[in-house]
């Protein structure tokens, strides 16, 4: 790095620090740190984010024309580090704000003017309208349709696995706009306004008895033409870009037990559980516990190695393994927890928090091994993109979509 670069980085760092010192006041910090995370954004948070956006710290890598500073990636990281150091939110959205990045990359001038700033300020709520009952692993098989009528599109169909649909202002939606070409080539990508009569949101009851997702029924919903992202029928490319943003913003934030029963801070949870259940001396369980812990530990070591590889500029094949590893960790931990509890795992309810944990984890592990691409799809991706194995022949790849077989 040249000394010029170094000194301009120092100037930038000083500028961010100065700005934070003047603006990130203790009362804001206190209010935001006590907030419960949810779909609705509080007024204090909105006001803070608006300040960050207008001061051009939200997306410093973006062009000046759109709330940015044209900074390099390295300089962008300097800004993020300073914000992180004082735990101030709002920076780094040029890296992690899925909605805004997708809109910037593919949106029309009119739509960008209308929505970019509100998205960065969290003034509008968003949801994803991708999967359908008949298009899960095979996402390009969607059958929701968009038909042009004058200066708008009319959408009809059904979407699923949509979180936040009830409060969303817009949904990022893929729909079929050409039925006479192969499946990947007849899809378009829209920002679909959600507050209109043709949108019906029904919560899904999950196997865990929770409801984080919805089904969305779409009947004669109107979308203005300016809400099309990318060219007509290039939605598959826009979608892949959006999915890449989504993956890069997803941390490894798998959920643990939900009982909230205090667990020893110094001891591995499985060890603590076995000790409490008085089975820690059983050799078979000890082997299983060690194995389950090792999966977690190995994944952490893999991630650390991948990160080190990235920092040295070498690409790493390990990143793609994280999700597969996580699903093994969760299923195995759930299995061992159940084994430790034995007959106690028959129960549920507040008097049996340990059983609640084991049973919840057993079911919720599928969130990771099915959601966001099943383990089987993940193995295809690893086999093909990392190991370079040939793709399975696809029988529907060159067939007009209307002739493709469905279940």
């Amino acid at each position: 790095m040249s000394s010029d670069n170094q000194s301009s980085n120092d100037v930038l760092r000083e500028e961010v620090r100065q700005w934070l010192a003047e603006n990130w006041r203790p009362e804001i910090a206190r209010t935001l740190s006590q907030e419960q995370y949810g779909w609705e954004t509080s007024e204090t948070r909105k006001a803070w984010l608006a300040n960050v956006v207008e001061s051009r710290w939200a997306v410093p890598r973006w062009p000046q024309q759109w709330y940015g500073r044209d900074l390099s990636d390295e300089q962008g990281k300097i800004v993020e580090r300073e914000f992180a150091a004082v735990r101030a939110p709002g920076a780094g959205q040029d890296r992690i704000n899925l909605w805004a990045n997708t809109l910037l990359a593919g949106g029309s001038q009119a739509l960008k003017e209308k929505l970019l700033a509100p998205l960065l300020k969290s003034e509008v709520n968003m949801c994803l309208l991708y999967s359908e009952p008949g298009a899960g692993s095979d996402l390009a098989g969607i059958r929701t349709r968009a038909d042009r009528q004058g200066d708008h599109y009319v959408i009809n169909g059904q979407k699923v696995w949509t979180s936040g649909a009830a409060v969303a202002d817009y949904g990022m939606l893929i729909a079929r706009t050409d039925w006479d070409v192969p499946k990947h080539r007849g899809i378009s990508f829209f920002f679909c306004p959600m507050k209109q009569p043709g949108i019906e949101v029904r919560p899904l009851r999950q196997i865990t008895d929770e409801s984080h997702f919805n089904e969305v029924f779409i009947t004669d919903v109107i979308v203005p033409v300016e809400n099309l992202l990318g060219e007509l029928n290039t939605g598959w490319q826009v979608l892949n870009m959006a999915l890449a943003y989504e993956r890069s913003s997803m941390g490894e934030s798998a959920r643990g037990p939900r009982s909230g029963v205090a667990e020893s801070r110094n001891e591995e949870p499985l060890v603590a559980l076995a000790r409490e259940a008085r089975v820690l001396a059983e050799p078979k369980l000890r082997q299983d516990i060690a194995q389950a812990i090792s999966y977690k530990r190995l994944n952490a070591l893999n991630s650390a190695r991948a990160k080190a590889d990235l920092e040295q500029g070498t690409s790493s094949s390990i990143m793609s393994l994280g999700k597969l590893a996580m699903s093994r960790i969760l299923h195995e931990e759930a299995r061992v927890r159940t084994e430790i509890l034995g007959a106690q795992s028959l129960f549920e309810g507040e008097h049996y928090p340990r059983a609640e944990d084991a049973n919840f984890l057993t079911l919720n592990a599928y969130f990771t091994s099915i959601g966001g691409g099943t383990d089987q799809i993940q193995r295809n991706i690893i086999g093909e993109r990392v190991l370079g194995l040939p793709k399975e022949p696809e029988v529907d790849k060159t067939v007009p979509f209307r002739d493709v077989r469905t279940s």
């Binding site: 060890v271 050799p283 000890r286 893999n302 990392v386 040939p390 793709k391």
Partner: protein
Amino acid sequence: METESGYDPDLWRSLSEMGVVGLVVDEAQGGSGVGPVELEAVMEEVGAALLCSPLLASGVVAAELLKALGDKGVSERLLPEIAAGTSIATAVLTGDSGCWTEEGVTITGEIQDGGWQLSGDGSYVLHGQNADVLLVVANTDEGLAAFVAASSAEGVSIEALPTFDHTLRLAGISFDGVEADRIEASGSVWEAVRRAMDLALVALAGEQAGGAQKVLDFTVEYAKTRIQFGRQIGSFQAIKHMAANLLLETESAISAARHAASRLAQDSENRAEAVSLAAFACADAFVKTAADGIQMHGGIAFTWEHPAHLYLKRARADAQLFGTPAYHRERYLQELGA
């Protein structure tokens, strides 16, 4: 592999000249003076190539045991020859039980006519049939002690053991009143053995990780070239998914082995935890990769002409040396405080 000694003397000489044999021996004693991290990296290559040599016996276990025992006189006499490869040393640590624990020690040392004499039957001695120098851990009236004896000494009888892995050399060594020099340990003898075995386990972990990587590489390559049903077999998900699973095993093994090496190099507090994790994770990963690799090849790997079986045999052997995977899982859990 098919020779009696089980290694190629010319190759051994080259490895010694390259500094590989004396990797962990101090420079002052003719070694390379590097540590576990470099050793692990070399061992990944050793595993990939299925090197047949007394490197683990002499350059790792014996050299590290001498260093850890800390008897200056003995070290200065033996380590330069070990590093130069002109002398092959090996350690006699256990007997027929194959338990590399303090209780597994089978040799006894007694003072007779003013000198130490060793008696008993040792086993699982790495390259015992090729060794000049025997480092022997024995029970004495004063507790555990370490000795050095010449393999040519009177009363030593060495029997090559028939190993399932033909790339490995093991011997049973009987001592019948063998005169030996006591090594004056600066601390606990078993602690020194533990250190030597930890380094050996890291070396083995590197060998296992490198071996697994090699098997995965040639198996994936085969899956791209073998055609059945008019398609490369790697396009079948039945094969592809096995390969993806093996990649996870292999990468995890590499991470674990390198992590253990760096913990050992830093002499950090949780080195035992890292070493035992690497020991079972790498052992299991190599066995699984080698085994599934054969399955993925199909018939060709059921023949002697394909090298896949050699990797499975090495993997199975490596998994048993210095403690089984189950033993190391137990040790890992104990290190975690359970």
